[in-house]
Amino acid sequence: MDSALIPKGVKRCPIWQFGLWIAANGAVLAWGVFAMLLVYIKGLNQTNMNNAYGFALWIWADLAVIALGGGAFFTGFLRYIVGKDELKNIINYAVLIGFICYSSALMILGFDIGQPLRGWFIFWHANVHSMLTEVAFCLTCYFGVLTIEYIPMVLENRKIDKVPFFHHLGHNMHEIMAVFAATGAFLSFFHQGSLGGVPGVMFGRPFGFREGVLVWPWTFFLFTWSAAAFGPCFTIFITKITETVTRKKLVKDNVIDLLAKISGWMIFFYVIAKIVDTVYWANVTAPARGLTFWDFYSNNPGSAYGIWILIAEVGVCGVLPALILIIPKLRQTQATLWLAVFLGVIGVCLNRWVMVLQVLAIPVLPFEDWFTYLPSWQEIATTLLPVAYGVIMISASYRYLPIFPQEQELNPIDEPAAPAEVGEPVPEPTGTGPEPELSPAES
C-alpha cells in the first residue's frame, strides 16, 4: 500500500505489521498525552514533587535524553570537523536520535514549568547569570540545528525527492551541512555544560556544588565531556536494537568499531576526570562546609543513596565500559559490545540522576532528614511519552527514509521495493566490504 514511499532497493515489513507496531506504541503515547493534559489542566499537583523535590523525574529525564542525544553533535563533530569519513554511514541515525532526544527534552520542559504560558519569559526576561538561561537559549538553537540536519533526510523520501525543488533543496542543504555540524558542536558544548552548571553553581547544596574556572564549575566540563563520551554509546545501542528488531545488518562493523573505540577512550578519560573531581570534592570542597564524604552516602532510607550508587556510576558503568570499548577484541565481540554500550547508557543516566535527585535528597540543615520521592503515575506516563514518540519516529523514519546508507549493500534483494514477508531469511551480514556508493544523504 505504501510501497511507493519506501526507499528503493530495501525491504520493509508489511503495512499491517507496521501498523500494529505503531498502534502498540501509539497506545503508550496516548497514555502519556493523557497524563500530559492532566498536568497542563490541573497543574503540577499531579506529580509527587514537593517543596524539597522541586526537580525530580522530569528534570532527570531532560538531562538524561540530552546527554544521550549527545551522540548527534559528537558524531557530527567527528564526521564533519575531524574528518572521520566512515561515520557518514551512521551520522543520519545519530542525527535522528539526537532530534528525538532534543525534541523530547523541549516537550518535557514545556509541562515541567508551573506556568507554561509564561515559558517565553526565560528568553524575554533572561538572567544572564543563570545556567538555566544558557541551557534554554543553546538548547533551542541546537534543536533548530538538528531540525535543519533532519530535514534533508525527510527530503530524501522517494516521493518527495521527485519534486525538483525539494531534490535541489536537500542537495544544497547537504553541501553546507558541515557549517551546521560545527554550529551544533559549539552550541552543544555550552548547553551540555550549562546543564552540568545547574547543580554545580548551587553553593547552598554541597553535594552538587563544585569550584571551577571563572564562572564555570567543574561539572560544566564533566557534563559536556560525558555527553560526548556516552552519547555515541546510545547511538550504537539504538543501532543494535534496530538491527535486532529489523533482523538486518544496517551498519558495517568497521563503522561501529570506530565509533565504539572513540567512545571508549572518551569514557576512559572522562572517568579519570570524574574520579579526580570526586576525590577533590570529598577531601576539600565538602569538608570546608563541615561535611564528610560519608554524610552524602549514609543514613538514608533504604540506602537508596548508599555508596553503591557511586560505585555503580563510576566503576561498573564507567570504568568497565571504557575498558571493554578500548580493548579491540572485546569491542569487536558482539556480547561485550552490547554490554559496554548498555552500561554506558546506564552510567550517564545514573550520573544525571544523582546530580539532580541526590542533590535534593540530602539534608543540608543539620536538623533535617533525608527527603524521599517516588514519582506519580502521571510523571511516569509523561516520561514514557517521549520513549513511545521516539520509537514511532525511528520506525517511520526507518521505513520511509534512507537512514542507513549501507543497508542496501548489506541486504541485497532481487526485487526492488517489494514488501517483505514476516520471518523471511536474513542475509548474512558481510561486516566489511567494499565502500558502498554514496547514499542520497552523502551525494
Binding site: 497543574g43 499537583n45 526537580f55 562546609r289 561535611l291 535534593l360 543540608v364 543539620p366 536538623f367
Partner: protein, 268 residues
C-alpha cells in the same frame, strides 16, 4: 558604587525566648495572604513563609532539651547580592535589593521552573501546587496590600516589604527622608508574645538588631556576639537572620561541623 545610605534589614531571633507557640506563623499567614488547603497536613506541599522547627539535643531524660527555631527567608546577601536563589533564576523573577538587603520575588514574572527552590538550602522557597481557595467570606479579609499568588509560582517571605513601602510613604507625606525603627516591623516580630524576634536595620548602630547581632562587615556580617550564629554560615550565604542562644548544642545545630571541629572552634 556603594550606597552609604543603604539599609540592610535583618532579624535577631532569641531561641532561648521562643516557646514555639506559632504566633509568628499565624501572623505571617494573615498578613501575607498565604494560601492553605483544607487538609494542609503534608508540610512538604504547603506554603508557610515562616516555619518553626523543633530541635532537640538528642539526649534522654533527664538531660533532654528542646528548642524551637523559627525560620523565615534568610535574605542571603552571599557575595555582592548573589544569593543562592537570585543568581539561578532564569527569568530574573527574584532580585536582591542593594538598598534594603531584601530578596524579593516577582510573582507575575515567575514561570515556576523551581530552580530557586533547589538552590535554597533553607527550604524557604515554596511552590503553589494549587490555586488558592479561600473559605467563604475570607476573601473580604485578605490584606489588600499584598497580592495573592496563583498556581504554579514560587513564593517566600518578603520581610513584609509592603510595610516598608507604607512607612516610606508616610514619611514622605510628613516630609521626612528616613523612617523610624518602629515604623517598619514585620508581622512576625510584632506577633511574637515572648519578644523573641527583633527586627531592624543591621547597618544602623542605633537599631536594636545591630546592637544585638553585632555584624562584622569585614567578615561578611559574621556576628561578634558569642551567643549568636547564623544558619549554614559556612556555605557563604551571608544571611541576615541571626539566632541567639546561650546553649552550645543549639548554636552547633545551626551548621555542619566535622568531628571535634565545633569544640575546637569554641575554644579557639
Amino acid at each position: 558604587m556603594e550606597n552609604e545610605n543603604a539599609k540592610k534589614f535583618g532579624m535577631v531571633i532569641d531561641l532561648d525566648k521562643c516557646t514555639g507557640c506559632g504566633a509568628c506563623m499565624v501572623a505571617c499567614y494573615a498578613e501575607n495572604n498565604i494560601p492553605f488547603r483544607e487538609d494542609d497536613t503534608d508540610k512538604m506541599l504547603s506554603v508557610s513563609w515562616m516555619h518553626v522547627y523543633k530541635l532537640n539535643n538528642g539526649k534522654s531524660f533527664p538531660d533532654y532539651e528542646e528548642c524551637y527555631l523559627p525560620r523565615p527567608c534568610q535574605h542571603c546577601e552571599a557575595h555582592a547580592g548573589h544569593s543562592p536563589c537570585v543568581s539561578v533564576c532564569p527569568a530574573t523573577a527574584t532580585d536582591y535589593d542593594m538598598s534594603t538587603g531584601i530578596v524579593s520575588q516577582i510573582y507575575p514574572r515567575c514561570f515556576g521552573c523551581r530552580y530557586c527552590m533547589g538552590a535554597c538550602p533553607y527550604h524557604v522557597r515554596q511552590f503553589n501546587w494549587w490555586d488558592p481557595v479561600w473559605p467563604d467570606g475570607m476573601e473580604r479579609m485578605l490584606n489588600p496590600e499584598v497580592s495573592v499568588r496563583m498556581r504554579g509560582v514560587v513564593e517566600k517571605c518578603s520581610f513584609c516589604i509592603h510595610r516598608y513601602q507604607a512607612a516610606k510613604d508616610q514619611a514622605y507625606m510628613e516630609d521626612r527622608r528616613e523612617i523610624e525603627e518602629d515604623e517598619y516591623q514585620t508581622a512576625c516580630t510584632q506577633a511574637c508574645p515572648a519578644g523573641a524576634i527583633t527586627f531592624g536595620d543591621l547597618n544602623n548602630p542605633e537599631h536594636a538588631v545591630h546592637q544585638i547581632a553585632q555584624p562584622d562587615a569585614a567578615h561578611h556580617g559574621h556576628s561578634k556576639n558569642p551567643k549568636a550564629f547564623r544558619l549554614l554560615e559556612r556555605l557563604g550565604t551571608n544571611t541576615k537572620i541571626y539566632y541567639l542562644s546561650r546553649r552550645e548544642w543549639v548554636r552547633k545545630a545551626g551548621d555542619n561541623y566535622l568531628k571535634d571541629e565545633f569544640k575546637n572552634k569554641a575554644h579557639s
